[in-house]
């Protein structure tokens, strides 16, 4: 579909056989990042005691993420606030920018979400090894398992651990792509049914747009909260 196509903008850049051209995906990532910066800049500019609207939104996004980290990963994860906040805001803004007509949804491409999830996964794994050394491997050996079953259980645990980045990335990608495809399909119905029967799918499209905005927020939230949960596993090792 046209809305998921990646095409390059400007000249082709090749660095050592790697295509580094600026594409529409890069453009919309830049736009999302710029919007986040603008949003946070406007929200923190005035710092009045009685907050203005934008200041209120900025401050509540801060408390929202801070509370989420505190609830799921505990106070020891507080130093990872900047990382989680950045991740949350980037996914949220990328999803929301994608909701605008004629825009490109960065998160509807699995490679983008998979890279984000891999950053989390690799980072958390390294953190676990730094924090606990080889005891971190104890994550794969649950307590109270008979020795005979242990090899099988360890393999299952390793598969379960490796499935984390896959489930994290596929969830975000699938939700965004499915939602946009559905909107497109219903939009197509409106055109093909014409003036007589097109009103019903039009109504569905409106309702689906609302649902998509909810999903856009929800997926950013789920992405951030799962990062917190994985962080919690690495920081406070217990089974």
């Amino acid at each position: 579909m046209h809305q998921f196509e990646v095409y390059k903008i400007g000249p082709e850049i090749n660095l050592g056989g790697v295509n580094l051209s600026f594409t529409n995906a890069s453009l919309f990532m830049t736009i999302s990042s710029a919007l986040i910066l603008l949003f946070l800049f406007l929200g923190t500019k005035k710092k009045s005691l009685v907050p203005t609207k934008i200041q209120f939104i900025t401050e509540s996004s801060y408390t929202f993420v801070a509370k989420m980290i505190n609830d799921t990963a505990g106070s020891s994860a507080k130093s990872f606030f900047p990382f989680i906040f950045t991740l949350f805001m980037f996914v949220l803004f990328a999803n929301m920018v994608g909701m605008l007509p004629y825009s490109f949804t960065v998160t509807s491409h699995i490679i983008v979400t998979f890279v984000l999830a891999s950053i989390v996964f690799i980072g958390v794994t390294i953190l676990g090894f730094i924090k606990h050394g080889f005891k971190y491997l104890g994550l794969f050996v649950p307590k109270g398992v008979p020795v005979v079953l242990l090899p099988l259980i360890v393999i299952i645990e390793i598969i379960s651990y490796l499935s984390r980045p896959v489930s994290l990335s596929v969830r975000l990608f699938a939700n965004m792509m499915a939602g946009h495809t559905m909107l497109k399909v219903f939009g197509g119905f409106v055109i093909s049914l014409g003036l007589l029967g097109g009103w019903l799918p039009l109504g569905f499209s409106v309702a689906l747009t609302g649902l998509e905005i909810l999903v856009a927020f929800l997926q950013a939230y789920v992405f951030a909260i799962l990062t917190c949960i994985y962080l919690n596993d690495a920081l406070n090792l217990h089974h």
Binding site: L152, I155, I156, E157, I159, S160, L162, S163, R164, V166, S167, V170, R171, A174, N175, L214, F217, L218, Q219, Y221, V222, I225, L226, I229
Partner: protein
């Protein structure tokens, strides 16, 4: 002095109210939908990862369908384990407060 005390008690009451409203918020619809979406992919991801590992190992050891099948089954088990764990976590969160 009296005024400060008054403010202190009022603050305490306000804080209590905040806590109460926060407790009610936790079971909201959006959060439940998020959890539902979370669990559904967990099962699939583990199966996919297990099958891919099995397929790669098959390529290395030249034991064509054997390891793919067994790792597929273990992937299903890992998926079940994931779903079970998240469900348990939700249950614990719900009844902790």
């Amino acid at each position: 002095m009296k005024k400060i005390k008054e403010i202190a008690t009022r603050l305490e009451i306000a804080k209590k109210n905040i806590k109460n409203t926060q407790k009610n918020k936790e079971g909201s619809n959006a959060a439940s939908l998020g959890k539902a979406l979370k669990i559904s992919t967990e099962l699939v991801a583990a199966v996919v990862v297990g099958s891919i590992i099995g397929f790669l190992l098959d390529g290395w050891f030249d034991t064509k369908p054997l390891l793919t099948i067994s790792f597929f089954i273990m992937g299903v088990a890992a998926g079940m384990l994931n779903v079970f764990r998240s469900a348990k976590k939700m249950h614990n969160n719900r009844y902790k407060n």
